[in-house]
């Protein structure tokens, strides 16, 4: 309620204009009227716009009554007569228009039976195709669309976590004008005038600032708008933009092109500082799948070289990883390029790494047509151009690299675009500014001074349309609450150009408006619904009688068949590249990167993402100044020391995290933190690194200065110790790995320490009795540490967020975690990922010690946790060698916030204080499938069987790498049984004779023998 109150207050601060109605006045009017006329007056009253307005303020459509601190009782007394009004405020209606479920449409929604709808989540313009599970009209879980080429069932963390974003109680919940809540009608009325004025000027004073847009419909609308106001300008800006890629393509081919990779054909991969296996890189979900496929040591195994400026999950999977400063990557690119026959002038400089370069080149030339060079988004255009040139030279184009039209429907240099806008604002040419989405006040390059410019500018009408009342909304006259993608109709293009149609899963909780509706209001069609707009757009493309069927199929599949961009043939126009000015070897380089968890800051208020351990550092709730061990030793800096980082006269202060494998003379700082107005989770977390970001150095610059302040700051990391070495000089074989050669020589190398089956005096439990015995394998070779399983599990199993203090204490609740280990030289270590869910041990140590039998074994081999029986002795956790049990030390679950009640998975009980919990192999899914299988068996009167692969755990379902396989080990033909039969299969800590049902497939690396030392 505290939150609610404060929230309420900052939505409508005290003063109200005289014409405005409030309960007092309404009650007075009602008192004055008596008898039959009472009702009439009430109806009139109810009809009056002021009342509507008041009604809306008191009872915003959908949900904000949850946050309303005024007494509901008084309100209902008043409303008693005309509850019809209240009727329109049901909170979880399906949208009015028909949307088509993914599976066979049942007669009506059956309670307890989930329905799946195809839709898509768009990040920086790239659509991620999804299936969303819906219970009685409430979206509860996000999964990948396995029909869609860009997903194949996988998702990334941002898509997974977006469902929490939709239920976020801190979202902007009303249209406000200078802080006063207004109805949509009022907004439409208010903008009529200014628009009319602009009409006369052909829109010369109108500026629209959007984020990257790939939606064909929106592009259409935008063009319509620009047609109506020819002199208006459309600016595009995102902090995490792809200007470099764009310019690189222009350099190489003279036109804006989208680069796609076909990693399933790539035998040799060279990454020039590209983290293409992590969320945020366009197409990463598909790339992970293809990459993982090629890492099978029993087939043709690919080899990957990574030259990178910052430890990333891609680097962790490399067979050869070379940590260098970002500014040195171009030298490498040139060296390799000239060696593979790309002549662009300039002296190639591979520094002391000639050997490395030689072997890379050799490998590349050996694999012409099946190699690929990938440049990172934050590398300068030159590097991209070189990568393109090399791919052309190596004949990879059309095989491992494909060029298409850009997915971005307005491919302009976004920094330049924003610069123009700012200068226009400065020179007072802007009268009407519409900011659609994004948060430029927070994330625009510091040297543009967007914030002050917006604050002081004479712009007479500033409109913000977005999900949150954020730093930018603060400085606009109007703030229109945007509808979340799960609430609105739209469309968008995936990285390969395939168009996904975005279906809403639920009516807008807070009556938000989609970008389409907003834009259509600007072209003065205020009442067009998103559905009409989107459907209308596609009807134009597919006129004709069969449209209905086509539309249904599209909605059903979630994408428009054959809408992917066709490959373009390209011709290299790259002549020569001016050599970049050499940088001092010891001049400190500062890298600014999008954050692995909160991206550019737009997910700052997402508790799941805030508490998601970053893949390499396992940090949560904060960003940090990452430095390499060498530098730390030299400067005498310890982890969690607070330092000030200076770059070009700009300063930030933050805690240090010593990151193994980070290059020397270089620091990395993640963007997206230090939000001032994000919400209860995001506000105040971390420090704002955008302060250092300037237009000429968006991603990295040298000449930084690092100084200790002497302060200390507590960071929250979820992993105690990031190596497998124990203090006594031993190394524990937790992650078991070998090179391809070693593996071929000694295929059973991973079996070490497995005890014989008959180790006990007593006969073991016979699991063959039951038709199913569940087991899981996790392929460490495939796992790229994308963290997706963690969020998927959190969403599926109603796992609580505990907050930073509790993480520091070591009480985070994730049922599956991804351990990251570093082995070898701290400056260039070998990194490993190991996802650890409950092992479901057959000889479970935890069960033996529970005094009340709250954790026992099922006939199918599950290590069941009976929450209701648990009294919380924590003995089970002490005795769990894998430490996968999680305890509710305090009341971690939020039982109050109603939005979360809607969000939770009804099939999983919500644990309260004092209860132990852990991974259950998604027992709710198992049960659901068993029931279905039994009904089917009875109906078709055949033997009961759960089809292998039909049943997937949440982590498995959303794993883009397909590293997690779950199934029935009693069935020798099941995929999991076959995997467990492999040589690489081993049980973690199997020497304890716990007989884990979850086993791992050992990791195999494929290093270049040339480089083996």
């Amino acid at each position: 309620m505290e939150n609610a109150k404060s929230k309420r207050e900052d939505v409508c601060p005290g003063k109200k204009p005289a014409n405005r109605m409030d309960r007092a006045t309404v009650e007075r009017q009602l008192k004055e009227t008596k008898g039959p006329e009472y009702w009439r007056s009430l109806e009139e009253l109810a009809g009056s716009p002021e009342f509507q307005d008041m009604l809306h303020r008191e009872f915003p459509k959908g949900a904000s009554e949850w946050l309303d601190s005024v007494s509901r009782r008084g309100f209902l007394q008043l409303m008693g007569a005309s509850l019809a009004m209240a009727g329109m405020t049901g909170c979880t209606k399906l949208p009015l228009q028909e949307i088509v479920p993914y599976v066979r449409q049942p007669e009506q929604v059956i309670p307890g039976v989930a329905m799946y709808y195809a839709t898509a989540f768009t990040l920086s313009g790239y659509a991620n195709p999804l299936l969303v599970e819906s219970h009685l009209g409430r979206p509860t879980k996000i999964e990948g669309n396995n029909l869609h080429p860009a997903s194949l069932g996988g998702t990334d963390i941002f898509a997974q976590a977006s469902i929490l974003g939709m239920y976020d109680p801190d979202r902007s919940q009303a249209i406000t004008h200078l802080g006063d809540v207004e109805p949509w009608a009022e907004f439409v009325k208010e903008i009529k005038g200014p628009l009319a004025v602009q009409k006369a000027l052909a829109g010369a004073g109108i500026r629209i600032l959007t984020q990257t847009i790939s939606s064909p419909t929106l592009k259409d609308q935008m063009q319509a708008f620009l047609a109506m106001y020819p002199k208006a300008k459309w600016h595009v800006y995102e902090p995490v933009n792809r200007d470099n890629t764009l310019e690189g393509a222009k350099l190489a081919f003279g036109e804006a092109l989208e680069t796609q990779y076909r990693l399933e054909n790539a035998a040799v991969i060279v990454s020039l500082d590209a983290d293409f296996l992590y969320a945020g890189f366009p197409g990463n979900v598909r790339y992970i799948r293809d990459f993982a496929k090629k890492r099978n040591p029993d087939a043709e195994m690919s080899r990957m070289y990574v030259v990178e400026s910052n430890p990333s999950s891609t680097g962790a999977k490399a067979d050869h990883r070379l940590p260098v400063r970002a500014s040195e990557v171009e030298g490498f690119a040139r060296a390799i390029a000239s060696a593979v026959g790309v002549n662009v002038g300039g002296a190639p400089s591979s520094g002391e790494h000639t050997k490395f370069v030689e072997s890379v080149v050799e490998d590349l030339q050996k694999h012409e047509g099946e190699s690929v060079i990938i440049a990172g988004d934050h590398q300068p255009p030159a590097v991209h151009a070189l990568a393109h040139a090399m791919n052309v030279a190596l004949g990879n184009v059309g095989k491992t690299v494909v060029y298409t039209d850009p997915v971005d429907s307005n491919p302009v240099n976004q920094v330049e675009s924003l610069r123009d806008l700012v200068s226009d604002m400065r020179t007072g040419q802007v009268d009407l500014l519409v900011i659609m989405g994004g948060n430029p006040v927070y994330d625009a390059p510091a040297d543009l001074g967007f914030r002050d410019c917006l604050k002081n500018s004479k712009i007479s009408l500033r409109i913000y349309h977005g999900l949150y009342e954020n730093e930018t909304a603060e400085l606009c006259h109007w703030s229109v609450n945007e509808a979340h993608y799960l609430e609105a109709w739209s469309d968008g293009r995936a990285y390969d150009g395939t168009v996904s149609v975005v279906q809403p899963l639920i009516a807008p909780l807070y009556a938000g408006k989609s970008a389409h509706e907003m834009l259509s209001a600007l072209v003065s069609v205020p009442d067009a619904t998103g559905y009409e707009i989107v459907r209308g757009h596609w009807q134009k493309q597919h006129a004709g009688p069969e449209f209905e069927a086509w539309w249904r199929k599209t909605l059903n599949d979630g994408f428009i068949e054959g809408s992917a961009y066709p490959p373009k043939s390209v011709s290299l126009k790259l002549q020569s590249l001016p050599v970049a000015a050499a940088v001092g070897a010891n001049s400190l380089e500062v890298n600014l990167r999008r954050d692995p968890s909160v991206y550019d800051g737009q997910f700052a208020n997402n508790g799941w993402l805030q508490e998601l351990p970053k893949p390499m550092s396992k940090l949560t709730w904060d960003n940090a100044v990452l430095i390499g061990p060498k530098m730390a030793d030299r400067e005498g800096i310890k982890t969690m020391d607070v330092v000030t980082l200076e770059l070009g006269g700009r300063k930030i202060t933050g805690p240090v995290w010593i990151q193994a494998g980070h290059p020397d003379h270089s620091v990395t700082v993640h963007l997206g933190y230090g939000r001032r107005k994000a919400g209860r989770a995001g506000t105040g977390a971390g420090f704002d690194a955008y302060v250092l970001r300037t237009t000429n150095a968006l991603w990295f610059a040298t000449g930084g200065k690092l100084t200790k302040t002497g302060d200390h700051y507590q960071l929250a990391s979820t992993q105690g110790y990031q190596t497998m070495d124990t203090g006594d000089g031993e190394t524990r074989p937790l992650v078991r790995a070998a090179t391809l050669e070693e593996y071929r020589k000694e295929p059973k190398f991973a079996k070490e320490g497995e005890p014989p089956a008959a180790l006990t005096l007593y006969p073991g439990y016979d699991y063959k009795k039951s038709p199913d015995a569940w087991g899981m394998t996790i392929d460490l070779n495939a796992c790229v540490g994308c963290n997706n399983c963690i969020i998927a599990c959190q969403s599926e199993n109603n796992i609580a967020v505990v907050g930073k203090e509790q993480v520091v204490k070591g009480r985070h609740m994730h049922w599956i975690r991804v351990d990251a280990y570093y082995q070898g030289d701290r400056d260039a270590p070998q990194a490993y990922f190991q996802p650890v869910p409950c092992m479901q041990c057959e000889n479970a140590p935890c069960e033996l010690v529970c005094p009340v039998g709250a954790t026992v074994h099922s006939s199918e081999g599950l290590n069941d946790m009976v929450y209701n029986r648990c009294i919380g002795t924590r003995y089970c956790s002490n005795n769990c060698p894998y430490k996968v049990r999680r305890f509710n030390f305090l009341l971690f679950q939020d039982w109050e916030t109603p939005q979360y009640k809607l969000m939770r998975n009804p099939d999983v009980s919500v644990r309260s204080r004092g209860v132990m919990e852990k991974c259950t192999y998604c027992v709710q899914r198992i049960t659901e499938h068993r029931i279905n299988a039994e009904t089917a068996a009875v109906r078709e009167n055949r033997e009961f069987k759960i089809e292998d692969g039909s049943l997937q755990t949440a982590c498995q379902q959303s794993c883009p790498a397909d590293a997690i396989v779950f199934g029935n080990i009693n069935d020798p033909n099941s995929r999991v049984a076959k995997l467990k039969a492999q040589d690489r299969n081993y049980g973690l800590l199997a020497d304890l004779n716990t007989r884990p049902r979850t086993t791992y497939l050992a990791e195999i690396r494929n290093p270049n023998p040339e480089l083996e030392t």
């Binding site: 007593y762 006969p763 073991g764 000889n843 479970a844 069960e847 039998g853 026992v856 007989r995």
Partner: protein
């Protein structure tokens, strides 16, 4: 005037030694319904007054056996018969684990029956007892020793018995009103 029936005749002695000797003589003299009181346990005394059958050990033994059986059978029934469930792959009948509680219950039942058996056999609690009517008897819990011949004894006769006791160098002899 109604005559108060006598409960018995009580003799007081200065030391345990005297009491034992006196008690032995009384018993030898054929008195059977007698009792002796001392401020601390005097081993010979029980023998002296001819008290031999002490059932406390038997009661304790039975209690202990019952406790042990209860312990094991309870666990067996609960874990094997009534609600068998697979715990960590261990057999339902995990007899080594059942031993401890069996042992504890053996001790518990044994101890309880020892104490309450003793009290019951002693007829305690008994807040009122005729011997307390003798004022001097308060010293029985301090440093004096007493011997009593009950009126119910066949050989009992008010004067004869009194003289007999006096002949045992009692410090004093007094009649205990019933």
């Amino acid at each position: 005037m109604k005559r108060v029936p006598t409960y018995g005749i009580m003799a007081e002695f200065a030391s345990a030694q005297d009491l034992v000797t006196a008690a032995r003589h009384t018993h030898e003299a054929g008195y059977r319904k007698i009792d002796a009181f001392s401020p601390f346990p005097v081993e010979e005394l029980a023998d002296a007054i001819g008290f031999h059958k002490n059932n406390v050990p038997l009661v304790t033994l039975i209690g202990a056996i019952v406790g042990g059986l209860t312990g094991y059978l309870m666990q067996y029934w609960m874990a094997v018969v009534n609600y068998p469930v697979n715990v960590g792959g261990r057999p339902y009948h995990s007899w080594p684990s059942f031993i401890i509680i069996t042992f504890e219950l053996t001790i518990l039942f044994g101890g309880i029956s020892a104490v309450f058996g003793m009290l019951a056999l002693n007829g305690l609690p008994m807040p009122y007892h005729p011997v307390f009517n003798v004022p001097r008897f308060a010293l029985a819990s301090k440093d004096r020793f007493f011997l009593i011949v009950f009126a119910s004894d066949p050989k009992y006769d008010a004067n004869g018995t009194r003289q007999f006791l006096e002949s045992l160098h009692a410090r004093s002899v007094s009649e205990v009103p019933g």
